[in-house]
C-alpha cells in the first residue's frame, strides 16, 4: 500500500458531524476511510490534522444557482473568483447559470465553463444550459448536445428570464426527460412585470416604485406544475419568494408530482421595507417580499415544501448599483453569506438542525442537479467510502459582513455591515483543503485569481 497523498488527505478531530456527537473523520486520497469516536483516530504520517473541537462538520455545500459571469462579464466575476468565493462559503460544487455572454446555449459554451471550473479547482462547476437559444424564449437550445457534452448538463434554465411561452415550456419539460434533466424555471409572468422594480404592496405604493406582484410569480408556478403533471416531467422552481408560491408547491407535492423548489438566503431574511432608502443593493429579482412571505418561505423550508436553499449569487459592477434604483441592476452576491443567513434564520431560531441544513444545502441540491452519483459525486453522506467533500463551521463565531474582505470580485452584498453568525473554518474538496482557518488555499497548479483593483 502506497502512502496517502498529503494534499488530498486529512484527519478531522472531534468535529460534531451534522451537529451531533464529536467524531473523528479520516479522509485518505480524497475518500472518507474512517469515522470513529472523537480522539480515537490517528492519521498516517504526513497527513494534515485539523482540530475541530466545537465545530460542526457538514458535507460540502452544493449551490444549484450561481452566476459566475464568465464568459462575458469578467469585470464582475470569473469562474476562478466565483468558485473561490464559493469555497470560502463552504461549497464544493456550484451550478453556473446560463445567462452569460455568449449565452450558455451550446455544447461549446457549457464545455468552456466546465473546463474553466476544472482548471480553477476550487469547487466542481456544473454548467446550467439555457432552455432557449439566446434566452430569447422562442426556440429550444440544443439541450441534448449540452447533456451529452463533457459538461454533462442536467439542469436547464433561462434564469433571469422566464420561459413564458407555455408551448416552449411544455416541450422543454418533455425533451429533458430523455436524459433525466430538469427545467429550472425563473417564474415571472412578463406582462405583469413590465418595468417592475420591487414587490407590489404597501411599500411600493408609498415610495413610488413600479410593482412586481406576487401573482406574476405564482401564476407561472401554477401553470408549470400543471404542465409538469401533464407530461410527467421534473420541474424545479427557482428562487421562490411568496407565500402563495409555497402553497402551490405544497399542493404539487401533495399530488405526488416531481416538483422541487428553492429559496434564496436573502428571501429568508430581508423584506421590501429595505427598499425605502432606495439603495439598489436591495434590488433583486424576484424582489424582496413582505414579512408574511419571509415567514412562509421559512415555514416551507422547515417542513420540506421547499427542498433547497440556493444563493442566486449575482455579482454586479459597482456602477450598476451606484445609481438611481430604476437604473440599477437586479441581483445580490450570496455565496459567502448563505450558510450564515441559513444559520441565523433557520438554525438559531430552532426551526432546523444542522442535519437539515446538510439536506437543504448539500444532499437535495446535488440530487436535483443529478450530481449525487457518477465519477465525482456531491451531496453524499459523511460515511466511509464517500468522497471527502466536507465543510467545518464554527457556529459560535459572529462577524460583520464586509464585502471588500470577500472572495467575490463584486461587493453588492445586501448584508454589508450586518453581523451574522457562523464562520466557515475549512472546506475540503475530495480531501484537499480549499479553505483553512477561514482563508482560501489555492489549489496546486491553479491560476491565481486576478485581483481587481477597485
Amino acid at each position: 500500500m502506497t502512502a496517502p497523498h498529503p494534499e488530498t488527505s486529512v484527519l478531522v478531530i472531534g468535529a460534531q458531524v451534522l451537529g451531533g456527537e464529536p467524531r473523528d473523520v479520516l479522509v485518505l486520497d480524497g475518500t472518507i476511510t474512517e469515522v470513529a469516536a472523537a480522539g480515537s483516530l490517528t492519521g498516517p504520517d504526513g497527513v494534515r490534522t485539523v482540530d475541530a473541537k466545537g465545530l460542526v462538520l457538514l458535507p460540502g455545500l452544493v449551490d444549484l444557482h450561481t452566476h459566475l459571469r464568465e464568459p462575458g462579464r469578467e469585470d464582475t466575476e470569473t469562474v476562478l473568483t466565483g468558485t473561490r468565493a464559493a469555497a470560502l462559503g463552504g461549497f464544493t460544487a456550484v451550478h453556473a447559470m446560463a445567462n452569460t455572454t455568449p449565452v450558455a446555449d451550446t455544447a461549446g459554451v457549457v464545455e468552456q465553463v466546465w473546463r474553466l471550473g476544472r482548471d480553477a479547482g476550487w469547487v466542481d462547476v456544473h454548467p446550467v444550459g439555457a432552455v432557449s437559444v439566446g434566452l430569447a424564449g422562442e426556440q429550444l437550445a440544443e439541450l441534448g448536445a449540452m447533456a451529452s457534452s463533457a459538461a454533462q448538463v442536467r439542469v436547464f434554465s433561462d434564469d433571469g428570464k422566464c420561459v413564458h411561452d407555455p408551448v416552449l415550456m411544455r416541450r422543454a419539460l418533455e425533451y429533458v426527460k430523455a436524459f433525466d434533466g430538469v427545467v429550472a424555471q425563473h417564474a415571472q409572468e412578463p406582462r405583469l412585470t413590465e418595468g417592475a422594480q420591487m414587490h407590489e404592496g404597501v411599500v411600493s405604493a408609498e415610495i413610488g416604485l413600479r410593482g412586481w406582484p406576487a401573482v406574476a410569480e405564482e401564476a407561472i408556478i401554477a401553470r408549470d406544475i400543471l404542465l409538469a403533471e401533464h407530461v410527467g416531467s421534473r420541474l424545479h422552481v427557482c428562487h421562490l419568494s411568496t407565500a402563495g408560491s409555497v402553497e402551490l408547491v405544497r399542493w404539487a407535492k401533495a399530488r405526488g408530482l416531481r416538483v422541487t423548489a428553492e429559496v434564496t438566503p436573502h428571501h429568508l431574511m430581508l423584506t421590501d421595507e429595505r427598499a425605502r432608502g432606495y439603495d439598489p443593493l436591495f434590488k433583486v429579482n424576484p424582489p424582496l417580499r413582505t414579512e408574511a412571505d419571509v415567514e412562509a418561505v421559512r415555514a416551507g423550508l422547515e417542513d420540506g415544501t421547499i427542498d433547497i436553499v440556493a444563493t442566486d449569487h449575482a455579482p454586479h459592477a459597482r456602477e450598476d448599483k451606484d445609481c438611481e434604483w430604476d437604473a440599477a441592476a437586479f441581483g445580490m452576491t450570496g455565496l459567502e453569506t448563505a450558510l450564515s443567513v441559513v444559520q441565523a434564520t433557520m438554525v438559531d431560531t430552532g426551526r432546523m438542525t444542522w442535519a437539515d441544513v446538510a439536506r437543504v444545502m448539500s444532499t437535495n441540491p446535488a440530487r436535483i442537479g443529478r450530481i449525487d452519483e457518477g465519477d465525482l459525486p456531491q451531496g453524499r453522506p459523511i460515511a466511509v467510502g464517500e468522497p471527502g467533500n466536507l465543510v467545518l463551521v464554527d457556529p459560535t463565531a459572529r462577524s460583520v459582513v464586509d464585502p471588500r474582505q470577500q472572495g467575490t470580485t463584486s461587493d453588492n452584498s445586501p448584508f454589508r455591515g450586518a453581523e451574522l453568525p457562523g464562520r466557515v473554518v475549512a472546506t475540503f474538496l475530495r480531501g484537499r483543503a480549499t479553505v483553512l482557518d477561514g482563508h482560501a488555499v489555492a489549489p496546486a497548479g491553479s491560476p491565481a485569481p486576478q485581483e481587481v483593483t477597485r
Partner: protein
C-alpha cells in the same frame, strides 16, 4: 431643514412653519420691488432630467427673487442624454460649488440618492421624482387651501383675502377630494401625506385601475364614485392630470376611453354646481380641458388654479430660504 425630499419629512409644526414662511414671502411679492437679498451669493442649480417648464420657471423665479444665482441644467442637450450617470452629474455640480440643487427626475428616489449618497454637500429640493413625491406642489396646494379655507368664517371662494390669510393655522376639519390618476401621481402621494399631517381629511377618487395596490396603508379614504364623494361636501376638489398615454393599450389601457373617463371622473358643469358655496377647485396643471376638467370648472369663480401658480413661487421661495439661508445655524 437641510433638504426637502418628501412631505413625509414634515411634521405638523414644520409644515405650518413652511406655510407661514411662504405667507411672508407672498407678502413681499405685492411690493413694487419684489427682489429680496436673502440668498445673494448662493448658487441654485435647477437639475431637470424631465421636461417641466412650469416647475422649472417657478423655482427659477423663486430663486431669483431671493437674489440667488441660478443655473439651469437640463438633461436634454447635456451630457446626461449621452449617458452620464447621476453620480457624475452630481460630482460635477459639487465641483462647481452648488449650494442648492433643485432636482426633477423620472426615477423615484433620485433626489433621495442625491441627498444621501455623499456626492454633494448641497441642499437638495425634490422638484418631482418619478411616481414618488412632489413636495413643493403639495405645499403650494396646502398653502392655497389654507389661505381660502382655514379658520373660515364667512370667507371662502371669492372672499377678500390677503397674503397672510390663515397664517399660523393648519387644515383641521377640512375635507379635500383628490380626483384622477392616483397610481402614477407624485402630487397625490405628496398631498395625502401633507394634508393629513395638517389635519385635513382626504378622499382619493379614481377608477380602481388608477389606484395603487397597497393604498390601504395610506391615511385617507378611497372612492370609485366621484358623485358620492362630491355629495360628502368636500371643501376643496383637486383634479389630477390624466396623461393621454394612459388611455391606449400600449400605455396600459387603464380605462376604456377618454369619454368614459370624463363621464365618470371629470369635473363638469353639473358636478361643479353641486359643490358647497365655499368650495374651491384646484388643478396642479397642465390641464386637459374637456378630459378631467371642463372649461366651466377651470374658469369658474371657484377655480384657484391660476392662484396656485402664484403661490408656487412663494412656497418655493420659502423652501429655498429654509433649506439654504438657515444652513449655518
Amino acid at each position: 431643514m437641510k433638504h426637502l425630499l418628501s412631505t413625509a419629512d414634515l411634521d405638523r409644526a414644520g409644515a405650518v412653519h413652511v406655510l407661514d414662511t411662504a405667507a411672508e414671502m407672498a407678502a413681499t411679492q405685492a411690493r413694487e420691488i419684489k427682489k429680496l437679498p436673502t440668498l445673494r451669493g448662493r448658487t441654485v442649480v435647477n437639475l431637470f432630467f424631465e421636461d417641466s417648464t412650469r416647475t422649472r420657471i417657478s423655482f427659477e423665479t423663486a430663486a431669483k427673487r431671493l437674489s440667488a444665482d441660478v443655473i439651469n441644467f437640463s438633461a436634454k442637450g447635456s451630457s446626461v442624454s449621452k449617458g452620464e450617470s447621476l453620480k457624475d452629474t452630481a460630482l460635477t455640480l459639487q465641483a462647481m460649488g452648488a449650494d442648492g440643487i433643485v432636482v426633477r427626475h423620472h426615477a423615484s428616489g433620485a433626489p433621495h440618492l442625491l441627498a444621501t449618497a455623499g456626492w454633494v454637500d448641497a441642499s437638495v429640493v425634490n422638484a418631482g421624482d418619478g411616481t414618488h413625491q412632489h413636495p413643493t406642489q403639495a405645499l403650494l396646494d396646502a398653502f392655497t387651501i389654507r389661505r381660502h379655507l382655514a379658520g373660515r368664517g364667512a370667507a371662502g371662494a371669492g372672499a377678500s383675502l390677503d397674503a397672510r390669510s390663515g397664517v399660523g393655522l393648519d387644515l383641521t376639519g377640512l375635507h379635500v377630494a383628490v380626483v384622477g390618476d392616483v397610481l402614477h401621481s407624485r402630487v397625490a402621494r405628496s398631498n395625502v401625506q401633507l394634508l393629513t399631517t395638517l389635519g385635513a381629511r382626504v378622499t382619493l377618487v379614481a377608477p380602481p385601475t388608477l389606484v395603487p395596490v397597497g393604498v390601504e396603508a395610506w391615511p385617507c379614504a378611497v372612492s370609485y364614485d366621484l358623485d358620492a364623494t362630491l355629495a360628502d361636501s368636500p371643501d376643496a376638489v383637486m383634479m389630477l392630470r390624466v396623461q393621454r398615454e394612459r388611455m391606449s393599450a400600449a400605455g396600459g389601457g387603464f380605462f376604456p376611453s377618454p369619454l368614459e373617463y370624463s363621464r365618470l371622473f371629470g369635473l363638469d358643469a353639473r358636478r361643479l354646481a353641486t359643490l358647497a358655496d365655499h368650495a374651491i377647485v384646484m388643478h396642479p396643471g397642465p390641464m386637459n380641458r374637456g378630459l378631467e376638467i371642463s372649461a366651466e370648472a377651470a374658469d369658474s369663480v371657484r377655480s384657484v388654479i391660476v392662484e396656485q401658480v402664484a403661490n408656487g413661487v412663494a412656497v418655493r421661495m420659502a423652501v429655498l430660504y429654509l433649506t439654504l439661508a438657515t444652513k449655518e445655524s
